[in-house]
């Protein structure tokens, strides 16, 4: 059930009505309604993997309690590592086994040894990378005595399976979400309208911008040998817009939906393409994942506190692991490695915390220096996205070498130039709105709040009509693949 589907448009109001009317003023009933809705939502993808989700939930729930009851550190460690290994084991089997098997076989073939590994024909359970990380963060926080284990199974299950974040995040923390789950929610008009506004904006990003850009990105990447460098450069640009609008659009819908139920989720995107350096980009892109890796991998490895060498090592580790988290392909590892290279100067010169403020805060136009920084950062991230999108390293290298050939100076070719121009125009308008709204949680968070009601509603209708008219060819959310 996609967020932008008709079925979700029916599902959400039904859950809303049950939640606020049938479960009114009763915390337990509220949580049960959300949990049942979440399991139903997940089973619409593939009911078989519901068992995996429930098993993972049970495992972490049980090991969390066992850790807190452990009389010795040894027993505590046992339960901790059991949970970690089983969770990572699921990821290893479902997501990475075939990659390792075929990579191993290829390595052996380079040595002249022919080996046909046994591969698994299994589907990747949707959302596994996300709910596994929910469970891992919970278990790690208990182990470190940051939180107490949750003894209410329904509450804990809801923390893992809450449907807005179940299939593509944001990756929540027990310290942030569990307290909200354990407290009765009262309806807030402001929160609900804000949630609807964020859902509307998320739908616009996904349906209009992302899906239109996807049409051209897919066409160009899938047929890259047929196009000149200028078209390939545009293809990379289209993908850069696609992945941002697709993923941040999904996150907006997730956050907005949660707010309808009185729950605040962690912000996942903070206008990353307006970043002035790569370090700032990674503070603004997929925030829940990068902060997860920072808290649970980078800092435990020593962070930047044990000398420059260790800091550089840890930087490369988290970016490569982050790349690998996205998928079982060398291209994702290359993407992660490239980002580590890009961020290296700021680590070396300790400038990675230079831009903690919002660019050109309080004014409409950035400075010339900011414009240059933004453009450079944008160019570097677009370059790295080529690896992310390409099917293989060879394709990525071919793609890049064609961009940096003489054919970059030719006129770009498109089978449907008018739609391509329209897409670029819509994207330009979109980023203008994003720029104007960059100091808020999402671009239209306070749009029209001071206008007369009729004008504000007219603006919402215009966005809705825009979604209706300019709907792109439907694409699955990119991050569902992870």
């Amino acid at each position: 059930m996609l967020f932008n589907s008709i079925s979700f448009a029916f599902f959400l109001p039904v859950v809303f009505v049950f939640y606020w009317f049938a479960a009114k003023n009763n915390l337990k009933r509220q949580n049960i309604v959300l949990l049942v809705a979440s399991y139903f939502f997940y089973s619409c993808w593939d009911w078989r993997f519901l068992f995996l989700l429930v098993f993972s939930t049970l495992l972490d729930y049980y090991t969390g309690i066992k850790m807190s009851e452990a009389k010795t550190q040894k027993i505590k460690k046992f339960w901790f590592w059991l949970s970690i290994l089983v969770n990572i084991g699921f990821l290893a089997v479902f997501k990475y086994y075939n990659f390792f098997a075929s990579s191993f076989a290829e390595a052996l073939s380079q040595l002249g040894i022919n080996f046909s590994p046994w591969t698994l024909s299994i589907i990747l359970p949707i959302g596994i990378s996300f709910y596994t990380f929910h469970g891992l963060s919970y278990v790690i926080d208990i182990y470190k005595d940051k939180i107490k284990p949750e003894r209410n199974f329904i509450d804990y299950s809801l923390f893992v399976s809450f449907f807005p974040l179940l299939v593509a995040g944001p990756i929540e923390r027990a310290t942030h979400l569990l307290p909200q789950i354990k407290k009765k929610r009262d309806f807030s008009y402001v929160k609900a309208t804000d949630g609807m506004r964020q859902i509307l904006w998320g739908l616009f990003k996904k349906i209009v911008i992302a899906d239109h850009c996807a049409t051209f990105a897919n066409l160009i990447f899938n047929n890259h040998t047929l196009f000149p460098g200028s078209t390939l450069a545009l293809g990379a640009l289209f993908f850069t817009f696609q992945i941002y609008c697709d993923f941040s659009g999904y996150s907006d819908i997730a956050l907005g939906t949660a707010r309808l139920f009185g729950i605040d989720l962690l912000r996942n995107f903070a206008f990353p393409y307006f970043s002035r350096d790569i370090a700032e980009f990674w503070r603004r892109w997929h925030i829940s994942l990068s902060s997860w890796f920072k808290d649970y991998l980078y800092i435990p490895l020593g962070g930047s506190r044990r000398g420059m060498g260790i800091a550089i090592r840890n930087t490369f580790i988290i970016f490569i692991v982050s790349g690998f988290w996205h998928g079982a392909n060398w291209t994702f590892i290359a993407w992660g490695f490239l980002n580590a290279i890009f961020i290296l100067p700021s680590v070396l010169f300790k400038t990675n915390r230079n831009h903690l403020d919002i660019v050109a805060a309080g004014s409409l136009m950035p400075s010339f220096k900011d414009i240059l920084s933004i453009m450079l950062t944008f160019a570097l991230t677009t370059f790295a996205w080529i690896f992310f999108r390409a099917e293989s390293l060879n394709v990525a290298f071919d793609y890049i070498s064609e961009i940096f050939s003489r054919s970059i100076f030719t006129v770009p070719q498109f089978p449907d130039r008018n739609i391509a121009m329209l897409t670029l125009l819509l994207t330009f308008i979109f980023f203008t709105v994003e720029w104007i709204g960059r100091e808020q949680q999402y671009a239209i968070a306070s749009m029209g709040l001071k206008w007369p009601r009729a004008m504000r509603w007219f603006a919402y209708l215009l966005i809705a009509l825009g979604i209706f008219l300019f709907k792109g060819d439907e694409q699955v959310f990119i991050y569902f693949n992870f």
Partner: protein, 324 residues
């Protein structure tokens, strides 16, 4: 809560009314005012999917217009021809591409799966009647509703460009690819994957509807199978294809050019002719029309004999067509 629900319902209601009225209005407008004006001097029409689209070069076939379109099932062909026949009374003959995959259930996907709806619905929405809309809604409600907006946008685009649909509904497609070395490899994979399961009743229903409509307008109608490579996977259902032809379309003449002799290099892939193959076939077809093929009672034997002559000429190193 009440305030939220009232306001949300009001805005959602307004949005739905705006969307529905834009959909209905633009469809009505296009349905009434769209121009599909073919060359008035041409009285023959070719319609079908990509096989006929790539095989019939209408610049080489005198007196003909090709309005075939890729990935188009008879459902869309039907509504297209309804619109065309209204505005093109000069048409006297219609050739309907009829190939092995068109009896297969895969045509159901071509009619109502998401990908084909995205491609086709926006063009034909103004012409699809209630029965057709009901069919699409029954089979893929999400897909249909999801394409209403795209059809409005397309309608507005068409209106803005003068409501002329003539060039948007199909035409001869010249393919430059040649993949002779991939045909056996591709179809080896195809052979492992394809096996006939059932026919597409819907597709055949709409083929009958096209034929009946043409006959009602006193238009001569023929089913035509353009040349196919022997490795094409759907040829495996030849028995079923012939059975459907005999049982369902015995009253309609079938012109079979499946075995027209072409080299691998005349094919873009196992089912589509490239520009070279299309040239050869179209000149051949034109020659047969010149020789009054359509007036003969023994069309099937005539075509077979002419194809045999071509094969012999090629085997003897001569040009595939004798000079006039």
């Amino acid at each position: 809560m009440k305030r939220f629900l009232y306001r949300l319902t009001f805005i959602a209601g307004m949005a739905l009314v705006l969307m529905a009225s834009s959909f209905l209005f633009t469809n009505q407008f296009i349905g009434k005012h769209a121009k599909i004006e073919l060359d008035k001097s041409k009285s023959m029409l070719v319609i079908g999917h990509s096989h006929s689209e790539c095989a019939f070069n209408d610049s080489l076939i005198v007196n003909s217009s090709n309005i075939s379109s890729s990935a188009e099932s008879y459902f869309y062909n039907y509504y297209k021809i309804l619109a065309i026949l209204k505005q093109n009374k000069q048409l006297k003959t219609v050739f309907i591409g009829f190939s092995n995959n068109q009896v297969d259930e895969v045509m159901d996907d071509w009619t109502w799966d998401d990908r084909h709806l995205q491609n086709k619905y926006k063009t034909y929405a103004p012409f699809i009647d209630l029965e057709g809309t009901k069919l699409l809604y029954t089979k893929n409600p999400n897909g249909l509703i999801g394409n209403f907006g795209a059809s409005v946008f397309h309608n507005l685009y068409v209106i803005a460009s003068g409501s002329n649909l003539t060039k948007k509904i199909g035409g001869y497609l010249s393919l430059v690819m040649t993949r002779p070395d991939t045909i056996p490899v591709k179809e080896q994979k195809g052979k492992e994957q394809y096996s006939f399961k059932k026919t597409s009743a819907v597709n055949l229903h709409y083929l009958k509807a096209i034929i009946n409509k043409c006959k009602a307008e006193n238009i001569n109608v023929y089913l035509v199978r353009s040349p196919l490579h022997k490795e094409w996977k759907y040829l495996r259902n030849e028995q079923v294809f012939q059975r459907v032809l005999r049982k369902e379309f015995s009253a309609t003449e079938f012109l079979d050019f499946k075995d027209f002799p072409l080299a691998d290099s005349d094919f873009a892939d196992s089912e589509h002719l490239n520009f070279r193959g299309a040239r050869k076939f179209s000149l051949f077809f034109n020659r047969l029309l010149d020789e009054k093929m359509l007036l003969r009672a023994d069309k099937e034997e005539f075509i077979k004999a002419e194809i045999l002559k071509v094969s012999e000429r090629i085997a003897n190193g001569a040009d595939f067509l004798p000079p006039r």
